[in-house]
Amino acid sequence: MHLFSSPIAILVPFIGGIVLFVRGFRGWRERRLILNTPRSHIRSMPMGLVEITGAAEPRSALTAPFSQHPCVFWELDISTRNKNGWSVVHRSASGHPFFLSDGTGVALVYPEGAECRLCPGVEEVCTGPLLPPCYSEYIHDNHLALASVWSLGQLRFRERIVEEQGQVFVMGTAMPRTHALTVSDADAMQATGTDGGPARIQTLDEATVAVMRRGENEPTFIISQKSERDLTLDLGIHAAAQLVGGPLLTLFALGWWLISITSTHGLH
């Protein structure tokens, strides 16, 4: 049986091409939005969609789940191997807010719902049910019920982190900071695992000009370790490839389908 003789084999690239085309436009729009938004100094940033760059500082003591590195923010994914490559079966990220300081002021970033573009970190491929403790403990702690099924084949573990004082580019919605914020006393804070005591947090909280998060009206929220220039270059290349590749894929599937039905009719 020929690869493209089944309707599904034609439908998948046909629809996939359209999806790529639409995603290409979304990427293009995002690229233009980044290019059209000038960078703000934190001390004077206006409320609404803004773009800031600065050094990340932790608000809570965080360690990355796989590498156990102290960090400001982490994200990870677990993938299983199938015939088309790797397929992500679990994805997670730390939801802890962190401070971003650019020398003029401090902003508090709530990373929930952000599109993260972090540099590659830990990546390991494991086979079989006997996983290294760092991975098996994570699976156990997070009650990933299907893990025993996944581990029958190859599993890929990836982790990306933002380290303390790491340079981060953030584009999101700036909102006024909460004035009703209270910091717990030293003992209570230690119980939550927060380092540095309340004094450090209090100082940074007082210096916080605004809060950055995903906006309700403007969903663009990017956290990236790449510079604005590299980020827009990446987005531009991806978007151009999807805008050209998507229609080509759909047209190829359509052409193949037309050839196959013509040849079938021809045979009859």
Binding site: F21, F25, W28, R29, R32, L33, L35, N36, T37, P38, R39, S40, H41, R43, S44, P46, G48, T104, L243, P247, T250, L251, L254, G255, L258, I259, T262
Partner: protein, 192 residues
């Protein structure tokens, strides 16, 4: 319908959808950018208004101490008045420069009055005005960046075609006039 005709139709359909999407994307982008210029200007205006409101407090705090500096107060009052009257970006930029220079002169002269420098109310006002000055400078930079992006976009192909259809004109930069950039001239009169 011949298979080749179907393929050509599909290709044209993609080109049409692509072209229309590109047009809408450029149109929406330019509208958003135009509104960003307005927003950036409004954000400067908020700070100018705040600084404008702080000036009478500063004058009333200092008048008792600096009775021999009438010229400095007059320059400040004149610059404040000019800022109120200014309407266009260029006029406001000029008035803003004048006011910044008058304030610079004011704070420079103040060095001759140690009693005033020890006044807590004055120190708070000075710090507040200084913060506002820094924020105005940042937002002016932000406004100029937004305007430059907007002006560049509406002159570039293919955006210029949509900009022409929307009758978009280049926006004014917030430029500080050359005389307003000159160093502050201080002539301190001896305190009585």
């Amino acid at each position: 319908m011949h298979p080749m005709e179907i393929l050509v139709t599909a290709t044209l359909l993609f080109a049409l959808i692509g072209g229309a999407s590109m047009f809408f994307s450029i149109y929406n982008g330019l509208v958003a950018l135009k509104n960003s210029v307005g927003r950036a200007w409004a954000n400067i205006d908020v700070l100018l208004k705040q600084r404008h409101d702080e000036l009478p407090k500063l004058v009333s705090t200092c008048e008792g101490y600096m009775q021999h500096e009438r010229a400095v107060f007059d320059a400040l009052s004149e610059a404040r008045g000019a800022l109120v009257k200014a309407k266009s970006v260029a006029e406001r930029a000029h008035a803003e420069g004048q006011l910044t220079q008058a304030l610079g002169q004011f704070f420079a002269v103040m060095d001759a009055y140690p009693d005033l420098k020890a006044n807590q109310g004055f120190l708070q006002l000075q710090s507040r005005i200084s913060d506002l000055e820094n924020q105005i400078a940042d937002r002016r930079e932000y406004y100029n960046d937004t305007v430059t992006t907007f002006n560049t976009r509406i002159q570039q192909i293919p955006d210029t075609l949509v900009a022409g259809w929307l009758s978009l004109l280049p926006a004014d930069l917030f430029k500080v006039a050359e005389p307003d950039r000159q160093d502050v001239q201080i002539q301190v009169k001896p305190a009585a």
